[in-house]
């Protein structure tokens, strides 16, 4: 167990303590089987499958393995890197094959006679050419790879054009805070776990480690950049076609490192502008009825950690939930954003993502239903 404090299963954990001691399950405690995403919902989301634009083979591979980085690169950065990736793979496979063949030939060329009482010993001669030719060829291949590497590194070091957008991403255990920067302070807004970018223009990211080290990775768009507390790392990337790309934390960051994913949605510039204006606008707080009581319960039970712009809920410890209903996933890429999944998540966040900082709120089924209904209105 981390923190030395028992896990207060039935109480809200004091937020400041939670920050100091991210608690972990007690080692040896039997694991409680919980409905996973698929059980709660009947389907999980296959991101690429839903936006497959061309139906070709590479896209099929992408949809089968949405985090792969050997097919379906999008944009200038991943596009520059992919040929180098395939190049070094090709060199490596060739070397492996050549050595395997040479080894097999060497072994079965002229075997000696085993079990002789005193086996013959050959002279110490020959083989030197083998050594020097092999090393010379290897060295040339290595030098060529260094040149290719440095060239690609220089090309992707800077974006081809000035970035049209700067987004600040702060990684927390185990979710992503996303802040859209703007010279005009009124146009700055915060969202979580889903990043929209316009296609066809480089986007600059400022990457911050909010607590421990995390790493920002969207395989189809760019390699990894670590998010390290105490320093701000920069990354640019560009998507050249609209689509949804999956991102994942790739530096071990504690208990729920496995379940720290996010979604990047590349929109056409026009769609992106519309999305951004919509996000900047506050959510509408319902005036009455079930939705109003849902909003009230949300403020009471969830508002000390979560914020919704336009409401009184203004917590900063958890993800900002403004326009929550427009997002594809909940719990940092763990569940599809459906009312059933949302309800299951609120009912038992520790079952779905054990160790995460969201405590099981004390809610009746009815109250939970009202909160879900309210959150579904946050379009």
């Amino acid at each position: 167990m981390r923190g030395g404090v028992p896990w207060p299963a039935d109480h809200y954990l004091d937020a400041s303590i939670a920050g100091m001691f991210p608690l972990r399950d007690r080692f040896g405690e039997p694991h409680v089987e919980k409905p996973a995403a698929s059980a709660a919902d009947g389907h999980t989301v296959e991101l690429h499958a839903s936006i497959n634009p061309s139906g070709n083979l590479l896209w099929a591979a992408s949809s089968l393995a949405p985090l792969n980085y050997v097919t379906g690169a999008s944009g200038a950065k991943a596009g520059e890197t992919l040929p180098l990736t395939w190049g070094v793979i090709a060199i490596s496979v060739a070397v492996m094959a050549i050595i395997a063949v040479l080894l097999a030939l060497a072994i079965w060329r002229r075997p000696g006679i085993a079990r002789a009482p005193r086996m013959a010993v050959g002279p110490d001669e020959g083989g030197a050419n083998f050594l020097w030719i092999g090393v010379a060829v290897s060295t040339l291949a290595l030098l060529a790879t260094i040149i290719w590497t440095v060239k690609v590194l220089a090309e992707i070091g800077k974006p081809p054009a000035a970035p049209g957008l700067v987004i600040e991403v702060t990684a927390h255990q185990w979710w992503w805070e996303v802040r859209y920067l703007d010279p005009d302070a009124r146009r700055i807004f915060t969202t979580a776990n889903e990043i929209h970018i316009p296609t066809g223009t480089p986007v600059q990211f400022k990457l911050i480690g909010g607590d421990v080290i995390h790493s920002f990775w969207i395989p189809a768009l760019s390699g990894k950049t670590d998010m390290i507390p105490g320093q701000t790392n920069e990354l640019w990337l560009e998507a050249d076609k609209p689509g949804t790309y999956r991102g994942q934390c790739s530096e071990y960051c504690g208990l729920e490192h496995a379940k720290m994913a996010f979604v990047v949605v590349a929109d056409t510039p026009r769609d992106f502008a519309a999305w951004r204006s919509h996000q900047i606008a506050p959510d509408v707080t319902p005036g009455g009825g079930v939705l109003a009581s849902g909003a009230a319960y949300f403020r009471m039970k969830c508002g000390s950690c979560h914020a919704v712009r336009g409401s009184d809920a203004a917590g900063v410890l958890g993800p900002d939930l403004s326009h929550f209903a427009t997002r594809q996933m909940i719990a940092a890429g763990v569940l599809a954003n459906t009312p059933q999944n949302l309800s299951a998540w609120i009912e038992d966040p520790q079952g779905i993502k054990p160790g995460n900082l969201m405590q099981k709120p004390e809610l009746s089924a009815e109250q939970r239903g009202q909160i879900v209904a309210y959150l579904e209105t946050l379009k």
Partner: protein, 651 residues
Amino acid sequence: MTISDYTRAPSVGTEQPELAARLQKIWETAPGIGGWLSTVDHKEIGLRYIVTAFAFLILGGVEALIFRLQLSWSDRHLLNPEQYDQLFTMHGMTMIFLYAGPVLSGFSNYLWPLLLGSRDMALPRLNALSYWIYLFAGIFLYAAFAIGFGPNDGWFNYVPLAARAYNGGPNIDFYALGMILLGISTTVGAVNFVVTFMRMRAPGMSINRVPILIWGTLTASMANIFAIPAVSLAFFLLWMDRNVGTHFFDTAGGGGSALLWQHLFWMFGHPWVYAIVLPAMGMVSDGLPVFCRRPLVGYSAVALATVATMVLGFGVWVHHMFATGLPNISLSFFSAASIIIAVPSAVGVFAWLATIWTGRPVFTTPFLFFSSFILLFTIGGVSGFMTGSVPVDWQLTDTYFVVAHIHYVLIGINVFPVAGAIYFWFPKFTGRMLDERLGRWNFWTMFVGFNLGFFPMHISGLLGMPRRVYTYAEGMGWDWINLISTIGSFVFAAGVLMLIWNVLKSVRSGAMAGDNPWDAPTLEWATSSPPPPYNFVVIPTVQSRHPLWEDRLEGRPDEARSHPHAGLVLEHGREAIGTDPLDAQPDIILKMPGDSYAPLVFAIAVTAIFIGLLLLAWWLVAVAFVGVAATTIVWLWPERALGETREPANG
């Protein structure tokens, strides 16, 4: 031969039974528990190292099998995240620190004096101390796991996740202190190898005549002496951050740096990777030619490549940190270094290939392990080459591709040569052969299981599977490939069990081996199997790299023959011959210390200091310090027997 004036000139003679009997009396360890606890015999210590390391290999392997079950399919719930985190951390720590390094220390401890034609390591009591501290450090680290507080932030233990704010239990304190303790063991062991290399070679064994294993372990030892201070310092700073309120790694406004940890850790960590493969490569370089019935091709090139790998190995640590936001100019440098370090590796690969090609291979079990190692080494090498290319590494790093890479390196370049070395040297260790038939089953099970288990991890890595995840969602495309990996890992484990079974079976009932069952050329095969406590009745004299093959290698003039069974007679107490560092000309008779409890007591006292630091029990720390000081005095107390005495007869 010149012997300094202040000592007697030893006589020269041949092996005589009465001389052997006298030496036996001088060198043998007392029977019973007392002898067991006080022995400083390098062979005993070497075997203890190997057995202990294998015990840790089994523990680490079982840990891995458990989490391979967890990962065999998406969304499995065999383990909760905390259990998974402790298991994968314990697995990495165990294999890297408690198995891979110590097992090679074991082989080197056992073999060095025999390969060098010497009576013991230069510093026998230090050797015993090194083993005891290793054992206690291993127990210390496993005590944490046994009480449920095993290290849980990965063997690399990045801050601030390892800081008290994010990891409040004693898990990391155990890890930090255990690693510093283990560092003491590794350091004194390394010093011993370096001194032994410089002073303990048989007369005539100039540095161009030592077996490659000697080069491998020497290089690894030099590296350890320079590298371990970095990691011990890092863990000590972390322990202070966690327990006495310093701020070296405090990133939350304390002015500390998270990257400081990574630099200190990898400045050690990368050289360490070479330290735990170079001696194993050395074992192949010495063992493989025996079964190719010819000397190694390119001895000098391979020896130099060994040293070059290590020198370059100190300049590549940043390739573990390519994604940390360092400037492109420094990335370019470290990228080039990380790629070019493959050149000395290529020297090794082509030297081994050429040795087989121009030789007459004999298909024994050791040959199977040693020759297959070449392929596994190549696969581990090219995947490392891929990660050396920065833009590619930004994709590869922290995915299963790197898991595949590190296992091809550590299993392919450490476990396979070690298994081959067990088949090769077991007859020397015990006087009995391992079962060849079972050996073939053993090899093929390990080879198939290993490749089935770990090659697919390259693919799951390229398909984007991150490392260190306790589970993964369905629909990521990783299910089948992980199932194959899990099956392969169990097959591999079965292969390792066959090895252990073969050892347990053959140690009692294996065929008798004789002195030199493989007709091998180096000095360890010139003495009996198992060797007597004094190793050699007379100190051999060496004139080539292959003292036992000289009469059959063409082109050797007759005048310069080695004498494995004739040479200096040293029987005035425990004595060894000291020779000069380059040419191995004898220049002094060394008086060797006898068995002693001091190393064990010293190790207990040092371990007590660390237990005190763990519990923050300062009284215990103080008492243990006094114990260390007192043991040091006893240890260093002048003994008449260790002084150079003028013999009346010669005086």
